[in-house]
Symmetry: C2
DNA sequence: CTTATTAATCGTAATATTGCGATATACTTA
DNA sequence: TAAGTATATCGCAATATTACGATTAATAAG
């Protein structure tokens, strides 16, 4: 198959999975880290920063953009990317709530 | 291709991606949530709980087990699964450190 | 207008993931 | 020993992902 049966799961479970998948590739992790490090827009140096071909980076940027985690502004022939603060915070809440379950299972077999 | 070029990225970036990928499928999210909800071992009711076939669940459990996030104890014909507390905490630290970057980019274009 | 620069899109090949039927394994119980 | 129960593994088909060369689109510079 290769086809996820999303209808078997709750909206939240699917939401968590979609967000997590965004970070499930090191190139997208590196893009996000660079955007945080620069702490402002990145205009075009992502291909040099990360060692992948330009179409590949463009594709990863598109996925992050489709999720709303980053946004791009056209500036001449360049495009400036930055973190979308609101959506990043919303994502962070969803993921951390999932991760922050308390572990009390002292009665584990 | 379809082959991630891990050598282009740092160990931390690859580590984050590997952890995130574990949560990149709603079935694995559901498994983890159920383990937290029950708050003890789950012995065999995961197939009933989640609506996928037994080999499919077994495969997802294997991936979580390989990452060390869960552990299984054989109990007769059943296998009891629970969260591996230490490894879960380690994973949580890695992911939340990544997510917890401050966003100060007021000078965004 | 022509050329250069930058990024997106198209098309495609290689690899990975998902899901499950069939089967194997291991233990329990009669 | 034989039959039942629970889980893992095998093998395969369908789909998804990754990567990049070639091309396109859009603006900038001369």
């Amino acid at each position: 198959m290769g086809l996820v049966k999303t209808e078997k799961f709750s909206d939240l479970q699917n939401q968590i999975a979609v967000y997590a998948k965004a970070f499930g590739h090191p190139a997208r992790v590196a893009i996000i880290q660079h955007l945080f490090k620069i702490d402002t827009c990145v205009c075009g140096d992502l291909v040099a920063e990360i060692g992948l071909a330009q179409p590949t980076i463009s594709q990863h940027l598109k996925e992050l953009k489709n999720l709303g985690l980053i946004q791009g502004t056209i500036d001449g022939t360049k495009v400036c990317y930055c973190i979308n603060k609101d959506n990043w915070t919303a994502m962070k809440t969803v993921i951390t709530t999932f991760l922050d379950n308390d572990i009390n299972n002292t009665t584990c077999c």
